[in-house]
Every structure is written in structure tokens, then in C-alpha cells.
Amino acid sequence: MKNACATLATVLALLAPSMSTNAIAQEKQQNFPLLTFRTGPYAPSGSPWANGFVDYFKLANIKGGINGVRIAWEECETGYATDRGVECYERLKGKSGGATVFQTMSTGITLALTERGIADGMPILTPAYGLSESADGEVFKWSFPIGGSHWTSADTQVQYVAQKVGGLDKLKGKRIALLYHDSPYGKEAITVVTARAKMHDFELIAIPVSHPGVDQKAAWLQIRRARPDFVLLWGWGVMNSTALKEAQSTGFPRDHVIGVWPSGSDSDVKEVPGAAGYSAVLMLPGPGFDSAIAKEVREKLHAKGQGSGPKEEVGEALYMRGLMNAMVAVEGVRRAQEKFGKGQVMTPAQARWGYENLQIDDKRLAELGIADVMQPLATTCKDHMGPSAARAYTWNGSKWEVSSDWLHADPAVLNPLIKAAADKYAAEKKLTRRTGADCQS
């Protein structure tokens, strides 16, 4: 025990200098901590995602920050592990004058941080992932799945399948397999697909694949036996390419495998020769190599050797997602500045107001240079998600091609589910719904 004390003292002593140097106030800056995972089995997905984040911040600083407030960011490596994510959160939330908002980049970490966010008054941003019921802003005051969640992903995915078979009514009697990553992320899909299965009378076979997803022989044997019409793929990292390889060796037609956004990036299909025909429904941005913003990153960052990752990656789906996630974080603060003072550093509570009253319309999207890959975003006190739109992309062997119109998640299907789940959460945590008065704060 004595030695433990000594260790503690050493750690404290070694941390002290690094803390004091950071505490020195520089020019006005808004801190955006990043919980990245550039190592571990999910690194192929995590690296482009993180690079997109950092590049957007760099780009925004070149353009003068947020009305003159410089953007500062710090990465903390989680390896996609929940306990490390919690440690990173604790480390960064008070560092250099305090964090503005946290983006967890993992559903497991989201679950662990949701309650801490409430306790600490820290907004938790999870655009297109996270806890689906946190779309209910009346219960989840500090959580923001802006522009979509796993549930909207699942809903649009089913809609895309319906489009392929010629309408939602044609789904009747079909057999659909859901091949999911056995984690809170993958399980999110089950609720919505089950609800849709009941509505349209199709048969659902849920097949879990355990972490990290490199062993799928048994799962594909099950698929081979059940002969489903479609396979909905909810993978992450190495699980995606493995699933596509297994589909090929099983002889399952790839154009009947439909992925979700975490399963639809270049790293998932590039090294897989038989992946052509596979399509993925991408909530929020898809790949955008020709987007104005991608060009800007190449010109203003990569041309000067300041890009964060390899140049070829600029425009990939996950890279664009990083850009967009960072954009939402910055735009929320910009919105908050309109209310609380332009050119000021926003506190987490003020930024929260910004995220709750976000208005990114077509015009703003065009200014930001991502109008071709995104649909407008809007949040309110009641609805922390707003409209969500996804588009299907099909891999033709060398690049992703848009293969559907914008698909919008159906509120009639999702809202009752969100309400029920949020109520259950509120009852468990003994929370009361926020009233209209609280929305003004």
C-alpha cells in the first residue's frame, strides 16, 4: 500500500508540469476533444474518420475559426475500448480551459458517457450513431444524435431493400437476414427491423457476429441454410470485408447484401475482389471525392503538406463523415455565438443551446461545400435528431456510385419506438421530461 502511494505521488508529480503549461491562457480558443481510435481492430474505420475531423478543424482555422475564436483540438486514443474512452473523457473534459462537446465515435462509449454528460453538463454529440432514443430531447437534454441514429439507418436500409423489390408491400413473405456486430451498436438495428418486419410481414433472421468479426463461418453457414432474400450487414472494421469475402465463398449474391454506414467505406471493399455489386445505405454524408470541401482540403491542406492522412483518402465516406461530424460541432458553437455573443468562447452549456437550435439549410450546406452529399439538418428542444436522410451507394469494383434517391427515415415508424424507449430510460433513471420553459435555457 505504501508503494501505491508512492506511485500515486510520482504520477501526480509528473502530470503537474504538463497541466500547468496547458493552463496558460492563449488567444481565445474553443476546445474540441477527440476520442479517436487509430489502433486496434477497428483502426481501418477509425483512421479516416479521425483524419476528417482534424482536417475540418484545420480548414476552419485557416478561414478564421469561429468568428475569430480559434479552434483547438486534442486527440485521445481509445482503441474503441469503453474503459479507455471513459478515461479519455475524464482526462480531456477539464483540460486547457474545458471541453466544449464530446463526440464519442463509438456506441459503447456513448452509453457510458450519456449519464456522465448529464451529470457534468457536457453535450454528447453522436451524429448518425449513438443511443437511438436520445433523439428525444425532452428526456436526453445533453445528447445529440444530430441528423440520424442507428434506428434511422436501419429504417432507411429496409426502405432501400423495399425499393429493390419494388415497394414496401412487396416485402411480404420475403426473408431477410440481419448480420450484426454483437455489440450495442449492432443490436440497435434489431428493434427497428423487427418493427418493420411486423409491419410488412417479412421474416427476420438475426445473426450475431462476435467481436471483432473475423470468424463468420458459422454465420454464413446459417445464411446458406436459411437462404434469405437479402442480408443486411451491420459490421464494423474488419468484420465488413470478412463478411463480403464470406458472401463470395458462400455464393451469396453481393447485390443482395445491403450495408449500413459503418459498413460502407472504401476500406471495407477495396481489397475484396468480389465486392462489386454490394451496396450500402449511408446516413449523412456518403463519399464525396468531387465535393467542394474535398477539393478545398486538397488545395489548402494537402498542397501545403498539412493534410492529416494520405491524400487519396480525402473524399472517402468515413473521411467525409469526420469532416461532417466536426462541421456539426463547429456549426453548433457558431449558432450558440449568435445568441450568446459573437467572437466569444462558448461554455458547454451555451454550446448545448447551439446544438439544440441547429439550422443547417441548403444554403449553408452549399457554403460549407457539402451540398452534394448531405441533406439539411435541424434540431429543436423536442427533437435532438431532426430530419434524417440517407442515400444508397453501390460499389462497382472501383468506386461507389449513387444508387438511390434520398431515403428519409419514417417518423411514423420511429417516433413511437423512440418515445417508448426514452420513457423507459426516464423511468429507470427517475428523470422527468423537460418542460417548455427549460427549452429556453
Binding site: M1, S18, T82, E87, E115, A119, S183, H211
Partner: protein
């Protein structure tokens, strides 16, 4: 000199059988516990509590449990993560399914169910030994991973398969600030350490050690192997189960089976090996080493890089962390195969006779 024991006479059996027979030890440990209860809450900041101290306390408790089984009874187990999971999930079920259930009772009931599971998976230890037993206990790990992922009842049928608890309170004392959580865990750790220490120096503890050193000889002198082995499994998994409950309830707040994966089992086993097998103190050293060192490296490396003007990327830091950590483990095992606790006791021995080594 500092450790002058002159004049400390033991005049009764009681005095001879104390946990710390030397007065200096006693005072230092008491002062240290007082410091942990009073001084640390005043000194440490929120980050220290939530990211370092609380995980350290809970994992030290788990390591203590593993040490009883592996270090004292010699039964190598790779199912510790599973027993933690049982503790956490059953504590959760007791807590949410029975209205008005006190937290401490819920945690202890988690420990109780972990005891049952631990004893069940300990049955093979009556037949198989060493590595074979490790493989048998591995079954516990896979079984529990499977059960908590697949059987909806354990997670109260939550859609995401992740469970969470909040509003912890003990007799009107709400445990929500980091300091309160710290004190709560510290209370558990102190009580269980005292319990474990007394167990291992009692008759049953001597039975465990006899079994560890040579089970045939132990049986010959009249120790029942079944009783000794299963009781070690029971006590060990009870403590591990309570630690699992604390890990879920106090540290994470919401968790999924991945929080108690096979990695956790290995981590606990490493703690015991590095800290020192068959030493209560070793569990603390091991836990400190495994919990604090990676976090320390993770923050120290970029700072060290900045000193010499090199910017190290987070990925490189993470990789270096693994390499340095691995190298340190190997180095420690070569320099001191009996663990950090042995270093500690060597140091103490030297201090006692200093400055006259002969």
C-alpha cells in the same frame, strides 16, 4: 535505525499473531489508511478519482480475489472476467428487479451468485491441474460472455444489450460525486482486505497453501482437497464478483459484456503474477502497475516528446504504450520473478537490519 524493534516484546499469543507484529508497520499502515480516507479526498482532483483511483481500487479488489485462488491455492484460473461479469449482472438484476433493494446488499448478492458460478466451474479442479485447469476455467469465460449477450433476462431485455444503473444510495447517502464513489470503493476494499488477510493466515488459508505446494502431500496429512479447492474458488469468486459489481455500478455506470471480456481475465491474472503470487500486498502492487502505468505512459510520452521537440501522434503513442508496457512486464519478471511484493519485502528486510547488514 528507522525500524528499531528493540524493546517490542510479545508477551501474549495474541500479540504474536497480529497482522503486523512490528509496531512501525502497524502505525504506518494505519496512517496510510487514514490518509486514503481523509487525505486523498482533499488532494486528488476529479480526473485522479474517476480515471485512476476508482479503477485502481476496484481492480485491486478483483486482484485480491484472484490472488486467493491463484496465489494461495495454486489453481490457475482464466475465468476471473466471467466471475466479475456474473457479479455485475446479478447485482444489477437484484437491484432493478427488487424494489427498494439496498446497493450494498445487491452487490453482495452479485458476489453470492459469482460464488455459485465459481464453485461450479471449480469442480474440474478436483481432477485437472495447472494449464489444463486454466483451459477448463476458460470455459466459464466463454459461457458467461455468451449468456450475458444472448439471454435477454440477464439484461432486463434491453434492446442494446447494455445495462445501466444510477441513483446509488446507501442509507440516505447518495453516491454520485467522485469522492463519494472513491470512499465507497475504498470501504469495500479495506473490509475485504482485512477479511482476506485473516482468512489466509487461518487454518483454511494454510490448507490452501498446502494444496498449492503439493496436493498429494496435503491429502496425506489429512487436508480434504475438495473442501480446500472449492472453498478457495468460493471465496475468490465472491470477492471477484463484488469487484465486478462495483466495476459496473460505480465505475462504468452502464456496461456491456465486453467490459468483462477475456482481456479482463488476463489482466487480472497478470496483476497477480506481476504483483506477487500469494501476497495480499502484491494484489495492490499488481493492480497499480496494470491500471496506472498504461495511462501514465499515454500521457507521459507526448510530454516527453515535446521536451525534445518531437510531436508524437496518438497512434504512435498508443503503439509505444503497448511496447513499453510489454517490455516492462518482461523486465520485471526477469529481475524479480516473485513479483513486486517480493521487492517490497526484500526492501523491508534490508531496512530492518540497516545500517548493519550482518
Amino acid at each position: 535505525m528507522f525500524y528499531r524493534e528493540n524493546g517490542q516484546f510479545k508477551t501474549s499469543y495474541r500479540a504474536d499473531q497480529q497482522i503486523f507484529p512490528i509496531a512501525q508497520d502497524r502505525w504506518v499502515i494505519l496512517a496510510f489508511i487514514a490518509f486514503a480516507f481523509i487525505g486523498v479526498p482533499m488532494l486528488a482532483d476529479e480526473y485522479m478519482f474517476r480515471a485512476i483511483l476508482i479503477p485502481f481500487l476496484i481492480l485491486a479488489l478483483a486482484a485480491l480475489g484472484v490472488n486467493i485462488l491463484v496465489g494461495y491455492c495454486g489453481q490457475i484460473s482464466l475465468g476471473s472476467g466471467a466471475f466479475m461479469a456474473v457479479g455485475a449482472y446479478m447485482a444489477y438484476n437484484t437491484y432493478v428487479r427488487i424494489d427498494g433493494m439496498p446497493v450494498i446488499i445487491a452487490l453482495l448478492s452479485g458476489g453470492f451468485f459469482a460464488t455459485l458460478v465459481g464453485m461450479f466451474f471449480g469442480i474440474p479442479s478436483l481432477r485437472v491441474k495447472g494449464l489444463y485447469l486454466a483451459v477448463a476455467t476458460l470455459a466459464a469465460q466463454f459461457f458467461c460472455d455468451w449468456a450475458f449477450l444472448r439471454i435477454g433476462w440477464f439484461t432486463n431485455n434491453t434492446a442494446s444489450g447494455s445495462v445501466s444503473v444510477s441513483n446509488l444510495a446507501v442509507l440516505g447517502w447518495t453516491i454520485d460525486t467522485p469522492v463519494e464513489k472513491y470512499l465507497f470503493c475504498l470501504g469495500f476494499l479495506v473490509v475485504f482486505t482485512l477479511l482476506a488477510k485473516n482468512l489466509v493466515r487461518s487454518a483454511i488459508g494454510r490448507e490452501w497453501m498446502a494444496i498449492r505446494d503439493m496436493d498429494v502431500a496435503a491429502a496425506v496429512i489429512g487436508i480434504r482437497p475438495m473442501y480446500a479447492k472449492l472453498s478457495a474458488f468460493a471465496v475468490s469468486s465472491f470477492i471477484i464478483g463484488v469487484a465486478g459489481g462495483l466495476w459496473g455500478f460505480v465505475h462504468l455506470g452502464s456496461w456491456e459484456p465486453a467490459a468483462f471480456s477475456i482481456d479482463r481475465s488476463f489482466q487480472l491474472l497478470f496483476m497477480v503474477i506481476i504483483g506477487g503470487m500469494g501476497s495480499i500486498m502484491g494484489s495492490f502492487f499488481g493492480a497499480a502497475f496494470i491500471v496506472v502505468l498504461p495511462i501514465f505512459l499515454n500521457q507521459f510520452l507526448p510530454a516527453a516528446g515535446a521536451l525534445v521537440g518531437v510531436e508524437i501522434s496518438t497512434a504512435a503513442v498508443s503503439h509505444t504504450e503497448f511496447m513499453v508496457f510489454g517490455a516492462l512486464i518482461v523486465w520485471f519478471l526477469i529481475v524479480e520473478p516473485h513479483g513486486l511484493a517480493k521487492l517490497w519485502s526484500l526492501g523491508k528486510q534490508k531496512l530492518r537490519i540497516w545500517p548493519f547488514p550482518h
